[in-house]
Amino acid sequence: MLLTELLELPVLDAGGTRLGLVVDARFAVAPDSLEASLLGLLVGRRAHAAFLGYERKSENAPALIARYLRWHERGTFLVLLQDVRSIEPDGVRLDSTYRRYSPFLP
């Protein structure tokens, strides 16, 4: 599968309620081999403004832009791969026991 086939898919909970869109995919890169394995998906309200990443980074400047974009992207959260039940061409379904994590990058 290509990354762009995953991005912008709707994300649904076990009951079929729409939670948002896949705005990005988080990977862990092994320090030596550089193998990049999928950790989870970032779910947000809108996909198209998320590339600036203010809601995931500690950058705070310029303050006005940072604050606006963070407000604009509020509600973005991370779900871990283990909480993803299925990925279909028309949407991503989560387990009933899924948990929301902070989208901030470590």
Binding site: A61, P62, I65
Partner: protein, 410 residues
């Protein structure tokens, strides 16, 4: 001693390189129609270009990323592509205007038709890009462009009524004779666009990489920009003043390049005219080089192709092909007989429209520690940057409605 020379050379180049066909035409048009009531826009525009040229140069020197790479990385493929399409077309328009400007300047010097000069100019621009080193082309056109100082000299030779001129500087009722407020603000946007044209930033940041800048070169670049650009802006203002002193009282609204020259002739006679024409050719030729290179830079940086004059052309084939195609299109458009002065007038307004999408990514990257380490923007720079982003956005939104209401300033 070598350091001082290098410094002087950089500053002089920045002054001479600041003015292009857009500044020549727009400053003169505005001076001949509104006197000095719009000079404040040139001042604002110069401060803006100083802030963002400096910022893009700093980002390029520290992170090694030129402006269009950043635009794509920060705006994504889709919005970045929209920006590329708009910037590329506007740049092509400006390129066409500059090549047309060379042809018109050479016509003024020789009275041979521009249709003869257009292909000559396009081939000359290509040859210089193909074979001449980056630093050489920048320095020679910049230094020859200094001939435009003749406009500043002309201001004094005209013995204007300084008091009356000073009175015009203060922002007053925009209605000057038969001009409407819409026309006034339309030309304010045009003047702003001519001072802050995006190609200057593409060229400046890519030039930093062409010349392999390191953070150590930033001091020099800051001085070039902070002294050179304002002095270049003074030349723009001088052009405006000569038009305001000689042409405005006679109700001559500038519509051709030959009219820009008349006040210089009145002030300093034949010799001044010859010097001014040298300045015209150098300024338009230099800007034609910059816009041609910028067309290659923007496309290559978006798609990740190899680019730059420091590589042999065969090592940056698509970059060179883009520039050749750009020049062919520009010359082709001009040979249909369109008026380069009109292309210029539209290109500066469209530049103003495209400004926010170019300057926002620069401002954001200049704050990103991944790219800039601990050299991110300070608070003061961010404040000024944000203020300008606001001004740019307003100008960009207002441009089209003003263009329609004022019938493109007619």
């Amino acid at each position: 001693m070598k350091g001082v020379l290098g410094l002087a050379l950089g500053v002089l180049t920045a002054i001479g390189g600041f003015v292009d066909i857009g500044d020549l035409v727009t400053s003169s048009v505005v001076g001949s129609r509104f006197g000095l009531t719009l000079v404040w826009v040139i001042v604002v525009g110069v401060v803006g270009i100083c802030v963002f040229a400096q910022m893009s140069g700093r980002v390029a020197a520290i992170s090694g990323r030129a402006t269009f790479e950043i635009i794509r990385e920060r705006l994504g493929a889709r919005v970045g592509f929209a920006n590329l399409a708009a910037s590329f077309l506007i740049n092509l328009m400006t390129l066409t205007a500059e090549v047309g400007g060379i042809a018109l300047s050479l016509q003024l010097a020789t009275s041979i038709q521009p249709t003869f000069w257009i292909p000559v100019a396009a081939v000359a621009v290509w040859l210089v890009i193909w074979r001449v080193k980056f630093s050489l082309l920048e320095n020679v056109t910049g230094l020859l462009g200094l001939a435009l100082v003749v406009f500043a000299v002309a201001v004094f030779l005209l013995h204007p009524d300084w008091k009356a001129l000073g009175g015009q500087l203060l922002l007053q009722s925009p209605s000057q004779g038969s001009e409407t407020p819409a026309t006034y603000w339309y030309f304010a946007v045009a003047l702003f666009g001519s001072a802050m044209t995006p190609y200057e930033v593409f060229f400046f940041s890519s030039g930093a990489i062409e010349e392999h800048w390191t953070p150590k070169d930033l001091g020099q670049s800051r001085i070039n920009v902070l002294i050179g650009f304002p002095l270049g802006g003074v030349l723009s203002i001088a052009i405006s003043v000569t038009a305001a002193v000689v042409l405005l009282p006679q109700q001559i609204q500038v519509t051709s390049l030959s009219q820009v020259l008349l006040p210089v002739a009145q002030a300093g006679g034949t010799i001044a005219v010859i010097v001014a024409l040298l300045g015209f050719v150098a300024a338009t030729f230099g800007a034609a080089l910059e816009t041609t290179l910028s067309s290659g830079y923007s496309l290559a940086q978006y798609f990740g192709w190899p680019w730059g004059k420091f590589r042999p052309p065969a090592k940056a084939a698509r970059f060179h092909l883009t520039m050749i195609i750009g020049l062919v299109i520009g010359a082709g458009v001009l040979l249909t007989g369109v008026d380069p002065v009109q292309i210029t007038e539209y290109s500066v307004v469209f530049s103003a429209i495209a400004l926010p999408l170019t300057y926002l990514p620069i401002l954001i990257i200049a704050n990103d520690h991944d790219y800039m380490g601990d050299q991110v923007n300070g608070r003061a720079t961010n404040l000024v940057g944000l203020v300008f982003l606001g001004i740019i956005t307003i100008a960009s939104i207002a441009a089209i409605p003003l263009m329609i209401v004022s019938a493109a300033g007619s």
